[in-house]
Symmetry: C2
Subunit: 451 residues, 2 copies
């Protein structure tokens, strides 16, 4: 492999692939092209960087270009790959600083081009103080804008994880925060009853929430003055568009690489695309869902890292596989945590699975223990078989990570009957004598048996 491995993209999946490839097969040249200036940064940390809790963007960087070079990875920042030529096994690269074009040969290619924020096609999105948040540049632009101006009225378009995490950020910055969400509920990837609990919490913390409302335009001259929906005008001096992301697959598509669900690059568990020698990983790629056994598109940093490693190992001649995800996610807003794994009710219905579900309210610690908070835990299982399908948590600090128990159980394809009377850790600072997990499992098991 004298031309070595070329990787397109320098964040989670790309740099995981690069580091792994260099480790697995130190003899092969590994070159990363990225149109950005920063590599291997933790984009999930932006809300805490923007709030000022993380003082410096460099804290978000896991490893620098120099550190990668020491590991045998050549990183070309400010280099945009503009074409993949699978027949020639080359990529066409634009050096963004010099404007020059260069052609680089590869033996194996890893596409890790990530995702791009979706910008709704309405008037005013080009105004100053309208932001998106996806890459480091977006983060730095918003941060310097926050530093320069004293924002007081933030409107967040989109009530998903990023919208909610950024609500916390703007609250900490002293803003009045409004969230607009097109869907009838916030956190559309959770069930409405669970989302409602978080909504009440946000309302109690002074956030205005407008669900089932459509952004129609953003008004202002140069700077934003207000956000207009199909139902109202909301005064604003700062707007964050957080309505979702699209896999960044134009480059792959033009090269004839097959796309899958949501137009993400279709990969198998070895991270191989439809073109031999070309791998894809991370937010530009599909992932296998271990519960539905189907192809899915769930762009998350933790999956990007895992897929990147496998792509890198296999590109370097190894034999790794990534068998997929169970659909786990977590976020916090101030002192409230939300988490999910498996399938939501909507996903269960879409998959055509008959199911039973239950919700319980419990505590994060023994009721008598100081600071014990409430948590709501919802669980679903397949009717008849009792196969675990999904879990959702909304609750006080210390509740969210309980989702990992269910993620493990979904990974192992357990039924609710398998999971009765688990020996979970108990001491008053950690849970009631019956942890919420045991309570919800016992409750759901009864329902499964009754049917």
């Amino acid at each position: 492999m004298k031309n070595g491995i070329v990787i397109v993209g320098g964040v989670a999946a790309g740099m995981s692939a690069a580091a792994k490839a260099a480790r697995v097969n130190p003899g092969i040249p590994v070159t990363v092209f990225t149109d950005e200036e920063y590599v291997s940064y933790g984009a999930c940390g932006f809300p805490y960087y923007l709030s000022g809790e993380i003082p410096d963007e460099n804290r978000l960087v896991a490893r620098t270009v120099e550190q990668f070079r020491d590991q045998g990875v050549e990183v070309k920042t400010g280099h945009e790959v503009i074409e993949i030529k699978p027949n020639q096994k080359t990529v066409l690269v634009r050096d963004l600083k010099r404007g020059a074009l260069l052609e680089q040969s590869y033996d194996r290619l890893v596409i890790a081009t990530g995702a791009v924020p979706f910008v709704p096609p309405v008037e005013g999105v080009e105004l100053e103080n309208v932001f998106v948040l996806r890459n480091m540049k977006h983060g730095i632009v918003l941060k310097s804008s926050i530093a320069a101006r004293n924002y007081r009225k933030a409107v967040i378009v989109g009530g998903g994880y990023i919208g909610l995490e950024m609500a916390e950020t703007f609250i900490k910055l002293g803003c009045k925060v409004s969230i607009i969400e097109l869907a009838p509920q916030i956190i559309p990837n959770m069930d409405s009853d669970m989302a409602e609990i978080m909504k009440d919490y946000l309302l109690a913390n002074g956030v205005d929430i407008f669900t089932g409302e459509k952004l129609t335009r953003i008004e202002g001259t140069g700077e934003v003055k207000k956000v207009v929906t199909d139902k109202r005008d909301i005064p604003a001096d700062c707007v964050l568009l957080a309505v979702g992301t699209l896999p960044n697959t134009n480059l792959a598509s033009r090269a004839g690489i097959e796309l899958g669900v949501k137009k993400a690059i279709r990969v198998n568990t070895r991270m191989e695309t439809s073109v031999p020698g070309i791998y894809a990983a991370g937010d530009c790629a599909t992932v296998r869902h271990r519960v539905t056994k189907e192809e899915a598109y769930i762009p998350l940093g933790t999956t990007a890292n895992k897929q990147g490693r496998v792509a890198g190992e296999n590109a370097a001649g190894g034999n790794a596989s990534f068998e997929g995800v169970v659909g786990t996610g977590i976020a916090k807003v101030l002192d409230m945590e939300i988490a999910r794994t498996g399938l939501s009710r909507m996903e269960i219905e879409r998959a055509g699975i008959e199911h039973v579900e239950t919700v319980i309210k419990s505590r994060t610690a023994a009721g008598y223990y100081p600071g014990s908070g409430y948590l709501h835990l919802k669980l679903s299982a397949e009717k008849g078989t009792g196969r675990l399908l999904g879990a959702q948590i909304v609750g006080a600090r210390g509740s969210g990570k309980r989702i990992d128990v269910f993620a493990a159980c979904l990974h192992l394809e357990a039924t609710v009957a398998d999971l009765q009377d688990m020996d979970l850790a108990y001491a008053p600072p950690f849970s009631p004598v019956y942890d919420a997990i045991l309570v919800v499992l016992a409750d759901l098991n009864k329902k499964v048996k009754m049917i």
Copy 2:
């Protein structure tokens, strides 16, 4: 069943049995005899009651005698069962207030007599200000003593969970704390390398720790003045004996009921003893260990509750079973958490299982996230098969409950290979992008494969 169900003992197992029996079969008389005055209290909460964080002992009581009565359970407090007569199906009971004896017939009997603190046979244990901590009376006595005297020098004999939790209590009360432990390490049910981390933390918090030292006597006239070990004298104005508990099985033994390991009452998974119609549950009973598949004695509140329910259900004519524990435990001392599940190294060796193990150091949150703490996670698996054997955690706040993932995996008898690339929840406030659990599993899987 006209004589109904008689239950001996009114705390976790006893009252769980009573409540369950009354729910399952409301027609049957259910009578509980307890020599105590309080029932269904959370003994695990004592350290926080004694520190003053829980203001009142009544907060520890889950349900009162009156509430039980409303559920159809007759509770006789201050009534000590002094003999079980299996042939007559009666118990002989002493009314402690009146001194009267009465004989009560039963159709089914549940023994839930709990455990008693072991008092080392040395001079001076009878002095004032020498305490044990097991039941509510012990708690109230110690609490009122703390309120009356301004203890400044507390010596805790025993470095297990209760000893450590009480170290926190005495620190909060402003005491200089010393811990004496006969074993070469504190927390003898964890591995020495893990215990060492907690020891360092305690030392850094001003606790003196003397391991491998034997209590030889306690000196003083009326009140304690000092504690003497085989190596030193330690000034003390308060001593807590926390060297372990013994199953309270004298009553059962005298009735000819078979005892098992550690002289606990031998029960099967239906909580049946060797005598038909007599059940046992909780800290007086054995439990099946799901990892070794053998009988064990692990007295813990959460198990007592589960066993109590099963005993109560079966005594009332039901058909329940409790398949056992995996050996999970958790505790915290100030801001440090310890947790374990499965088998410790010593238990693995005792079981004669060849094993591999690994320890990793990771974080409770992303490294850049404010307040991210360290955690140490140790994992063991069977050589060859990779069957998961045990996990141990010592770390900062938010680390301990991760043990539940391993408790679930042990419950499901997973191998480390089964558990690679689990989709655990990631966001910067909750974990690094690779949760410690994934890191330790990947590391151990490599070791399993190498052999």
